[in-house]
């Protein structure tokens, strides 16, 4: 995936800022994010809860609810096969006709809690068919047939029966498959998945991740996948972006980032993942402190209050610029020495995939 050109990019987010303005504070949930989602590839955005990854995902389809607002930046949706000009979603009216024609048809979304994200009083078939009926002239019957096909495609057993049932009669995993079927209804070019596996148990989670991987291969959709789980990133991502307090602190191809994390925060996250084979006496490291109040961000580098390597007089005064340590990689750290950095510091640099047994230490 090193040879991609800009032509592959379907969704290009540039300098996105989404702020939540309340009575006395402005919470800068997303504060200048640049990301690019490529066709047929998965970009994982990873970070702690409250880092703004969810607000970022919702900003793409302009689904941020007041008092939240996209205040700056561009969200360019590139047309299929290079035909026509890209659309800047950030410039559209959030309830207007233009953004509505994008929602569900070109960019679809899957949400975190399948149970509460589906209406409990409408049948599964009704909710899946609805996307189709909104964007295309389709009869009720055709929509239902298509819904059955979609359910089969996301491997729901007994799709013909499930299509007429209500979400509260299904399990969480089934509901998430329904959500995915709903998202696939109009064959979107970009799928935004906001922690789609978080609310599920581990085995179901693995199945859903497999499903995502297959769908990416079969459909060539670009996927923006939000998660807080490094294991999930290892499983599914082509590229990864690490978010902290509204900014992307490090991004790049997943193997490179995992093997050679440049930002102290990325390193800390990777070290905090439990590994098989690690000695029992070895206590899992944690990141000290807690995320600062988002309404009151630290000056300089946002991570410095929790950074073990922070340098006084530097990190608390200067906002770190973006450095490019390698192709496709970007890091925001004042201590990063750029491409010259040869070896990764420390020993805990193995890839925690959750599947392989990594021989650490």
């Amino acid at each position: 995936m090193t040879a991609e050109t800009r032509d592959d990019v379907v969704l290009d987010i540039q300098g996105l800022r989404t702020y939540f303005t309340t009575d006395d504070t402005v919470v800068r949930a997303v504060d200048g994010v640049d990301l690019a989602v490529r066709r047929g590839s998965t970009l994982c955005v990873v970070g702690e809860s409250g880092c703004g990854k969810s607000a970022m995902a919702r900003s793409v389809l302009r689904l941020v609810e007041p008092p939240g607002r996209v205040v700056d930046g561009r969200i360019l949706l590139h047309p299929a096969e290079g035909a026509g000009e890209p659309v800047d979603l950030a410039a559209l009216h959030p309830t207007g006709r233009r953004i509505r024609s994008v929602r569900g048809r070109e960019v679809a979304m899957v949400f975190q809690e399948p149970m509460s994200s589906l209406s409990l009083v409408h049948t599964v078939g009704n909710q899946i068919g609805e996307s189709l009926r909104t964007h295309h002239r389709v009869s009720r019957k055709e929509a239902r047939e298509h819904a059955v096909e979609l359910l089969e495609r996301v491997r729901v057993p007994g799709a013909a029966r499930v299509v007429d049932s209500y979400p509260f009669q299904l399990s969480g995993g089934m509901c998430q498959r329904v959500m995915i079927a709903m998202a696939l209804a109009c064959g979107p070019r970009v799928l935004v998945a906001d922690e789609p596996t978080t609310a599920l148990d581990v085995t179901t989670q693995a199945q859903i991740l497999d499903l995502f991987a297959d769908l990416r291969r079969d459909t060539g959709m670009g996927t923006l996948f939000i998660t807080h789980d490094m294991g999930v990133v290892a499983e599914i991502a082509d590229e990864v972006a690490v978010m902290y307090l509204g900014t992307v602190v490090e991004q790049g191809p997943v193997d490179e980032v995992f093997h050679d994390p440049r930002h102290p925060y990325t390193r800390a996250l990777l070290e905090a993942v439990p590994r098989m084979g690690a000695s029992r006496a070895h206590r899992l490291p944690t990141i000290r402190g807690t995320i600062p109040d988002p309404g009151d961000q630290p000056a300089g580098c946002v991570f410095r209050t929790r950074c073990p390597e922070a340098v006084e007089g530097l990190c608390d005064t200067t906002v770190p610029p973006v450095t490019v340590p390698g192709p496709g990689r970007r890091v925001r750290c004042l201590l990063d020495e750029g491409p010259a950095a040869a070896d990764a510091p420390g020993g805990g640099t193995a890839v925690p995939t959750g599947k392989e047994t990594v021989d650490a230490d």
Binding site: L63, R100, G104, L118, L120, H122, F168, Q169
Partner: protein, 333 residues
């Protein structure tokens, strides 16, 4: 679903029995009875009372029988032959007195219900969707005032205004010229033209309450994730709102059928007295005051039964409306 309906209907039987018992208990509660009050009145006027005659009357109405015997005579008469007993005061069959008035009360109740829905639905939705807009504030304040004003006050104010500015005193659902006429188009039109004011007055508090309930529920529902899901599909905003959160928050509307009748009867009593309408209210109050026991007891029984039927209807409608209730009961049965 059918089993749920049957179960729900069987459940009504003990409730109705209990209501009949309570109704009879209530009318037995005051010390003395119609006869003793009547005798006291007669002696106050200086008329002698023949003890033998009193005893004969007591015998005839079974006033000295034990409570349960009296209850049994009353309820068996109603259930077996539709005989609600005699009104002491009017010396007429209770059934004759009652049905006419209950008919009008029902007409009033149903019209008020429909009007409340028609007004509350759009306003409630608007008020929630445009929360904190000027319109929302106006609706909220007006709604609060409507809730806070006893409806007999509204009736009094209305009576005062119409007297003061139109020089006529209000009253009656059926105008004088139609009082004895058979039912025809003219009489119906006349009733309709007289009906809307009491309907408006009685419905005020209920409408205001409905608006508040709908607004609060809708505000809760509007923040639920499934609304965002619907938006993410690209549905137009009005369709998102009407199809999902509004549908979810409409349950209180359906539940109103259950409680609207007792509330209406309550509100209607006061309004009817002020506006002198020929409904159940004034007659019930009079019967209670005069210890006209069979009349009062039958009213309470019939109104209670209507409430129970209303609750049944609203439960069945809710089950039809909300699949969760439907399937929950199917599973449990």
């Amino acid at each position: 679903m059918r089993r749920y309906v049957i179960r729900r209907m069987l459940y009504m039987v003990p409730t109705l029995f209990a209501i009949s018992l309570v109704a009879f208990l209530i009318i037995q509660l005051p010390p003395g009875n119609f006869l003793s009050a009547y005798i006291a009145e007669l002696s106050a006027q200086g008329q002698g009372v023949d003890n033998a005659q009193v005893r004969a009357l007591e015998e005839r109405y079974g006033l000295n029988d034990p409570f349960l015997v009296q209850y049994w005579n009353w309820i068996s008469g109603i259930v077996l032959s539709g005989d609600f007993g005699q009104s002491f005061q009017y010396h007429r069959d209770v059934a004759d007195l009652m049905w006419d008035r209950i008919g009008l009360t029902l007409v009033l109740a149903v019209s008020t219900l429909l009007l409340s829905w028609a007004i509350a639905f759009p306003i409630g939705v608007y008020s929630a969707v445009r929360q904190y807009s000027v319109g929302d504030y106006v609706v909220t304040v007006v709604g609060f005032v409507g809730l806070a004003t006893p409806n007999f006050m509204l009736a009094l104010i209305f009576a005062w205004i119409s007297y003061r500015y139109f020089g006529e005193s209000v009253g009656g659902i059926v105008s004088r010229e139609y009082a004895d006429a058979a039912w025809n188009i003219g009489k119906v039109m006349d009733v309709v033209s007289n009906l809307w004011i009491p309907v408006l007055i009685i419905g005020t508090a209920g409408t205001a309450a409905l608006i508040r309930v709908l607004r609060a529920n809708l505000l809760d529902e509007l923040r639920k994730p499934y609304v965002t899901t619907a938006r993410a599909k690209g549905l137009p905003e009005w369709r998102v709102i009407l199809k999902y959160p509004v549908r979810m928050s409409l349950s209180p509307f359906i539940s109103t059928i259950g409680w609207i009748l007792p509330t209406l009867v309550g509100g209607e009593v006061m309004v009817s007295i002020v506006l002198s309408l020929e409904t159940t209210g004034p007659l019930l109050v009079e019967a209670l005051r005069n210890q006209d026991m069979y009349l009062a007891g039958s009213f309470i029984l019939v109104l209670g039964t209507l409430t129970v039927i209303g609750t049944l209807l609203s439960d069945l409608l809710l089950a039809w409306w909300d699949p969760r209730i439907r399937y929950q009961h199917v599973e449990r049965v």
